[in-house]
Structure formats: C-alpha cells, structure tokens
Amino acid sequence: MNKAVNQKAWFFVLPVLVLVAFNAIVPLMTVVNYSVQETFGNNQFFWSGLTWFTDVLRSERFHASLTRQMIFTGSILLIEVPLGVLIALAMPRKGIWVSICLVLMAMPLLIPWNVVGAMWNIFALPNIGLMGKVLNDLGFDYNYTRQVGDAWFTLILMDVWHWTSLVVLLAYAGLVSIPDAYYQAAKIDGASRWAVLRFIQLPKMKRVLTIAILLRFMDSFNIYTEPVVLTGGGPGNSTTLLSIDLVKIALGQFDLGPAAAMSLIYFLVILLLSWIFYAVMTRNEEW
C-alpha cells in the first residue's frame, strides 16, 4: 500500500516548535549570545570568543561554589534517600493511617520555598528561635549566622525536612506495587527480613528511587530561594551555592558575559551528571 506524501503534516508540529522556541531555545540563545561577547557599556558588544568560559573554568571562586554545591547535594542525597526509604518501609500498608501518613508527608512539599526559608530562619535564631534557643539552653554553642558548621547543619536539616517526603512518597508508591506473592514466596523460601529488603523491596523500588534521586539531584543543584532566605550565602561565602553565586555575578556585579558562561557550564554539569547517573542505573534494563 502506498501512503500519500502530505507535507501539510508539518503544520501540526509547528505549535510545539513555536512553544519550545519561546520557552527554551530563544532564552537559551540569548545566554549563549552574552557568553561570547564583551561589553563596555553603551549597549556596545564585542566578540570575545571562549574567553569567558576559560575564565570561569579557571576561577577559584567558581571552583569554591561548585565544591560547596557538590558537598550540599551529596549530603542531602546521602541523608534523604536512605531516610526516605526507611520511613516508607515503616509506613502502614492499609487502614485509616495510610491517608493520615500520606497527608502528613505531603505537607512540607506544599509550603512555598521562601516561606520554608523564613520559617527556618526564625526557628533557628539562637536567641529567640525555638530550635536555636533550645540548643543554646542545652549548652551547645549554636549560632547559624556566625558559625560555618552551624550554618551548614541548619541548611541541610532544612532541606531534609522539606524534601525527604518526596523520596518517601515515591518509595512508598514502589513498595505498595509489589505483589503479595513476592512476600509469600520469600517466606516459604525462608528469607530473612534483610534478604527481603535486599532482593525484593530494593530491586522493585529501583525505578522509583532512580526518579527520586534524579529529581532530588536536579532540584538541590538548582536550589536558590531557601538558602538565600536562611543564610544569604553566609557567614562569609560559606554557604554560597552555585545559584547564589551566579545571581551575585549576574545581577550584583552585572557581569553579563561571565554570568552567561557560568550559566551554560552550570547547565552542562547538571545535564552531564544526570545523564551519567541515569545511564548507570538503567545500564542492564529494558524500560
């Protein structure tokens, strides 16, 4: 059977193309445009090639914020993923408590990000905040506005509080989709609780956990609002993560060229790490 060739079909793709162009390609291209030019004001731009890219890649400031970003993302993943799985395992599977637990878990996810930042900012204040005051009364010298360790502790605690629920909900969805027969077979095979976790629950949760880790990785790598409201990147530059640093360069110093180059490198780092992670997790699987 011969199919008629009808070029009009392209018109159906056009709306999507226009949409994607306006929300992704055009903004991205303006950034690319800035990243290869130098300006001395008066809206005059000069071609500068890849100098901004080499500058950013060699800059110690960029290295420092990238390292801080890696430490932050690494820590919250190391805490949130195992904790989320543990909470999901402990959640009830049937009865009225299921809905109660799910709603409780969803709560932190519903709070606007700057509200979370403000909440923790006040909650952790050493002289009046509930947590800060209690810690100091207990004899800890806790002050997140002055001490680097305390700032990091508060930052990570805030993220864990805000986002562990996401991992819990995804892991729980993976857990409840395991048919009863698996648990029954394991019982008959004499498997221990640990073996059930290792050979049934974790493998069955692998897909949702891959998604959970990817989402948490990308979100935490992009995080801006919460740390800005909580610490503003301080004390000093100690909690200045990549996005905060980027905003400082772009809007604080108005260095459009370096900021644009840094944005592109930032974007490529996220893309590359996500791709590597995804490829490794799904290397011998048919999805």
């Binding site: 027969a181 029954q184 008959i188 004499g190 498997a191 050979f199 049934i200 493998p203 069955k204």
Partner: protein
C-alpha cells in the same frame, strides 16, 4: 514427604462471621496420601486459594487443624512447614541469576555451598534450566520464570508438598500443554505430594490422580477424573466438568423413579421414599442417543465442535444438548431420544439422591 490431613477446617476473613456466606471455607475434612497428585478445581472465589494458603501456612484457619503425617502443624509459619508454593504470577528474584534463584531457599537454610551446587545442577537439569543458569532471572520469559519458581520448590529435599496456585495463568497457550506434561513427568521423578489449584478442568483432569471440586467454600466432590465424569455427586460438578456440561432437568418422582412430563425415565439411582425439595434429573450430553422410540424432541440447533457435533433440542419444553458423531446423519425436525440408564441420575437439592452431603 507427607500425608496431609485437614480436620474440621473452617475459615472466615471476617472477625465475627455469622451468616453462612461469611465463611470463605465451610467446614471440610480431607485426607491426602503421601506422594499423590491432587487438584483443587472450582470457579473463582470458591475458596481454593484460601485452602491452599492455609495448607502452606500463609493463612491461619479460623477453626480446625492441618496435619502432616498426623503431626499438627496449624500454628507453624510457612518456613517451618517444609512446603513449596508456586504462585499464579511467576515470582523470581530479579537481581539474581537463575542459579542464585534456585540456590536461595538452600542458602537461607544454611546448606553448605558444595551441596547447594550439586542440588541446583540437578534441579536445573530436571527443569531444563541448565543452559540459563548464569543469566539474570529477570531476562527470562514467563514460562522460564515459572520454571524457576517450580525449581525453588523442588530444590529442597525435605519438602513435604508442592502447592501450585494456578501456575499456568500467564503462560502462552502453546506452552501450557508443554509445561503441564513437564509437571506430570516431574511428579513421576520426584514423588512428592503435589496439590494443584485451578479453575481449568483440562488442567485439573490431566494433572491429578484425584480432583477435589469446590464451590462456594465447600468441597462438593472428591474423586478420580473418571468418577467426576461418570457420577457427579452434585449438579455443580456435572455443569463444571465436561464440555458442554451435564443436562439438568426438573422432574417428578413416582415411587422412587424419575418421571419427566409423564414419561418414566430409568436411572442409576433411586430416590428415597417421601423425598421433597428440588428434584432434578441429570444426564451428560455423551449419554443421550437418538432412537426410534423414546422422548419426543425438536432439533433447534447444531454446532460443530471438531470431533463431534453438539445438537441442541427442545424436549418436553426443556433445552437439551447432546453429542452426535461427525459421520452420523441427524434428522432435522422431530426426533426421539433415549437416556443411557446407567449414566442418568436423580438429584435432590443439587446432590445425588441418596448421597446428599457426602462429599
């Protein structure tokens, strides 16, 4: 290896069962010999899986006892009962190789690795998995996975019984026959007690030496495939086994004999004196023949079923089905029918008259 006895077994999923319908399993007593091949046959929701889970220990019965070789195992958990179970949907441990899957029940019980190796090789050879031992179990097809499930049951030497819960549901039709013959063959090589749950009469009748037919939480008949076919103890067995099922006609009783609209019908059993309730006559399509004299009937339809044809007739206001061989010419219009007296039975409230309630 064990003889399995079920004594006064009853089960309800409700905390306080009151009505008879609250019971998923009504009281039953069964005795299964060591090394036998049994099938539990019945429609969905008849309680066969409940019964199987009680035997394996996944479920605690509300009442009654499960005995293995006379020893009460009712309170024991599944891993202490030395039982294997193959489920409807194949259960394999995805991240393990086929070898590790088969070795899993042994390793969990602390069997030495050298013994694990020989045992797994042996079972892999029996279940035709030798070639795939090093592959990951998740890559196998449904029938391969079901073989792994089966292998995990066979691998333990101390297994008392192997239970199958509709194991061929997800298997492709052309492989079903193959796997079924494989099971039968394995039962000859490994003479362990095997209990096979299914709603498919062909599977039950080909696999088992003895079939237990269940309906609505009750055992309606236990017997060899032949017994179930020739003397169904309940009209349900007549319907459920055979294709098409048994013809069941309301009848009257005169002096212990069946009377159908004034025609006296010779039957294998007699109704006891003073009987009342629902009285029916049951005769399988195989045992109705066209003759020169007999019950008048009108042919209303004829369908081809391959080796034979199924005739549908209207006989004294009732629809009857019977078999006609391919080469036998069948008159259209008016015919006369006779029922084979040795295979025609009177049923009282559904049960074979004179045998009421004797499962």
């Amino acid at each position: 290896m064990a003889r399995i006895s079920l004594v006064g077994l009853k089960h309800s999923y409700l905390a306080h069962p009151a009505a008879p319908d609250d019971w998923a399993l009504k009281e039953l007593n069964l005795e299964w010999q060591d090394g036998g091949a049994y099938a539990l046959l019945g429609p969905s929701g008849c309680g066969k899986t409940t019964l199987l889970n009680i035997i394996s220990g996944l479920l605690q019965p509300s009442h009654g006892e499960v005995l293995f070789d006379g020893r009460d195992v009712t309170p024991l958990p599944p891993e202490k009962r030395q039982i294997a179970q193959v489920f409807q949907f194949p259960v394999v441990y995805d991240t393990m190789t086929v070898f590790d899957n088969l070795a899993f029940p042994l390793r969990n019980r602390g069997v030495p690795e050298t013994e694990v190796r020989t045992r797994v090789q042996q079972i892999a050879e029996m279940t035709e998995l030798s070639a795939t031992l090093k592959k990951r179990a998740s890559g196998l097809s449904a029938d391969g996975k079901q073989k792994i499930s089966l292998g995990r049951g066979l691998v333990r030497e101390d297994v008392n019984a192997i239970l199958f819960d509709e194991p061929l549901t997800v298997i492709d039709p052309h492989l079903k026959f193959q796997l079924r013959s494989k099971l039968k063959e394995l039962h000859h090589r490994v003479p362990k007690t095997m209990i096979y749950v299914t709603h498919d009469q062909t599977e039950a009748l080909t696999f088992a030496d003895k079939v237990v037919v269940m309906n609505m939480g009750q055992v309606v008949q236990q017997g060899t495939p032949e017994e179930l076919f020739l003397t169904p103890h309940h009209t349900f067995v007549g319907h459920f086994i055979g294709s098409p099922g048994m013809n069941v006609l309301p009848c009257e009783i005169d002096n212990g004999n069946a009377v159908l609209k004034g025609h006296r019908i010779a039957t294998a059993n007699k109704a006891p004196a003073g009987i009342s309730g629902i009285l029916e006559l049951g005769v399988r399509p195989e045992f109705i023949h066209i003759s020169d004299t007999g019950l008048p009937a009108t042919v209303t339809g004829l369908s081809d079923a391959g080796r034979f044809r199924i005739a549908q007739v209207n006989c004294l206001g009732q629809t009857l089905k019977f078999l006609v061989s391919e080469d036998h010419p069948i008159a259209t219009g008016e015919v006369h029918l006779t029922f084979d007296p040795t295979h025609t039975h009177i049923y009282h409230n559904g049960w074979l008259a004179g045998q009421e309630g004797l499962a």
